[in-house]
Symmetry: C2
Subunit: 346 residues, 2 copies
């Protein structure tokens, strides 16, 4: 997790941009020439590249959601991998939101997301997905985690395991109250609290210089009443926090997920950034393709800056901000004007 933490320190920004394209999030100028799924996948790539080019100096990481690409079939999956490769080429940490989870040789195969394709005589292992981390589902226990964790340790990668998700029905399983051990001090935990304990334990062997392990947890922004408890239960577990913005989570809601140094969590926004152009009054269907790309890029940049300021302001209260405050602001000078001054579409 140290690489991610360093990237957050460098940018002074504990947020990650979700690259989750779908037809309704693309301006019509990108869809006009689409005559097949290959074209639509290509339009996703152009869209993603415009966003990445526009914000890569402001953010530590992107989180492409593979489901959006899988919806287009294999052509979409190909563009998912190309999006990851492009983001890495711009220096971004790529968190592949794949939520995989299986056992034994199957989990081993999924771990290729991090460790590369199987090697054969004359055919060395290749990095086919270009991800620095992936999300994983815990339902199968350590059998589903071990191969990923081994890959993390061997190839300097990370995983984020679902613990308490941001959606309303996360309560159905994750909030089930367990019977606990009679007489134990901390009995009657919920399932997600039990998972928290497992994740903290499983991560132990991969603790880095930052104090955080390579095994992070997904904790939704929509449960502020639980935030402090999860932070306390998982002192060496870094949090990926979905649910900010479109799903209703606020900066105040996520503050307690950070540690006392203002570290320990990264907050995701997807629609709020990549769909920001929709709320920009300068958008019109009369714009040409280049103008539309320019506008969606500058809208995303502005939204990233607003989110960064929102998050860092709340971290400034209660002594939670030292690491972020210490950052030189030179590389995001454009944040003062809101919109950047240079042409964003390179």
């Amino acid at each position: 997790m140290d690489r991610l933490i360093e990237a957050i320190r460098r940018t002074g920004n504990p947020s990650v941009v979700g690259l989750d394209p779908k037809p309704g999030l693309l301006p019509k100028q990108l869809l006009e020439t689409v005559a097949g799924l290959d074209d639509l996948a290509q339009a996703y790539l152009v869209f993603n590249q415009a966003i990445i080019d526009s914000v890569s100096d402001l953010i530590p990481a992107v989180k492409p959601q593979i489901a959006m690409y899988e919806a287009l079939g294999p052509a979409g999956v190909d563009v998912y991998a190309r999006t990851c490769a492009y983001a890495q080429s711009k220096g971004l940490y790529v968190l592949g939101d794949v939520k995989r989870g299986d056992i034994g040789s199957t989990a081993q195969a999924y771990a290729a997301h991090l460790s590369g394709s199987p090697a054969l005589p004359g055919l060395p292992s290749q990095d086919v997905w270009h991800e620095d981390a992936v999300t994983v589902n815990p339902y199968l226990g350590i059998d589903g985690i071990r191969p990923f964790l081994d890959a993390c340790i061997q190839d300097d990668k990370d995983i984020f395991v679902l613990c308490k998700t941001s959606n309303p029905s996360s309560s159905q399983l994750q909030d089930l109250r367990t019977a606990g051990q009679s007489g134990a001090e901390d009995s009657a935990k919920t399932v997600s609290q039990e998972v928290a304990g497992l994740l903290e334990e499983w991560g132990k062997e991969s603790q880095g210089n930052s104090g955080y392990s390579r095994l992070g947890a997904v904790i939704g922004a929509t449960h502020p009443q639980l935030a402090q408890d999860f932070r306390r239960r998982m002192p060496r577990t870094f949090f990926l926090v979905p649910g900010y913005g479109a799903q209703g989570g606020t900066a105040a809601d996520v503050a307690a997920l950070f540690d006392g140094q203002g570290r320990g969590a990264i907050v995701n926004s997807s629609r709020g950034i990549i769909g920001a152009w929709k709320a920009n009054p300068a958008y019109s269907e009369d714009l040409n393709r280049h103008q539309a790309l320019d506008l969606l890029a500058s809208s995303a940049r502005k939204a990233v800056i607003v989110m960064k300021e929102d998050l860092t302001s709340i971290l400034g209260r209660g002594g939670r901000k030292p690491d972020l405050v210490r950052q030189p602001a030179s590389q995001d000078a454009s944040s003062q004007s809101g919109y950047p001054t240079t042409d964003l579409i390179r």
Copy 2:
């Protein structure tokens, strides 16, 4: 689920063949010309087609495990979809073992596995994955299930949701004992028993003529002591049963997962079928490519027949077999000799 149940009735065989290729399961004759990942993916396709051609008249369904294909990157994923399409073209029900699980618009995107790609003006929705069913993870609750269930009802498809998996560490989450409702008759259920109750409930609206709903459950073969309890808790839920064979589950272990009519479950075997050629003394590295394909195909066919006889014999005891016994045996006459008489590689 009615289509799958009819296919089981037609073949008299409640088993599904896992198409989970990996380099170690392919005879070296298929790997000799492999110089890149596209070639390796192509070798997987040739391997799968040989298996499918050899056993398609004997089995109702195949279950390709997408992880094995993802390990090769996008080139592998393309061959996954082509494997599914090929199996469907041979009349097989294709159960995509993808274990996806997410929420909201992301779950909606994953549901494209069943309902097809998003439609645009001039670009109708397309069946990009060629699956009749997929496996889904329950950790996120109904939010992660609803989009799949809607796709099932609209497009005559099914899902199988993880409930109690076959691996040892399934105990870590799935066997956690819940606190239950004080005074309730059935309090202190395990997490997987709670999930069982949810699945049975969620499936209710899609109950078919067979009595089973479109929402099935994954119940491992390796927990015989729990089988009867799960069958009782989920009377309208069809079971996909992994863990038979290589993982140690026997026909006796799975018997109680079937209902009183010998229906209600389908048992998976992967390595035991597609890797059967390795135990065939007729295999030699000196065989040419065609001979090796022929041998792996006939070995798979023999293994399918042995598995079918194993399962149907156990279902014959205790009055569990009526539906299967009633089947005419004409289409699997070759099962009497063990090996088929026709050339299997078409």
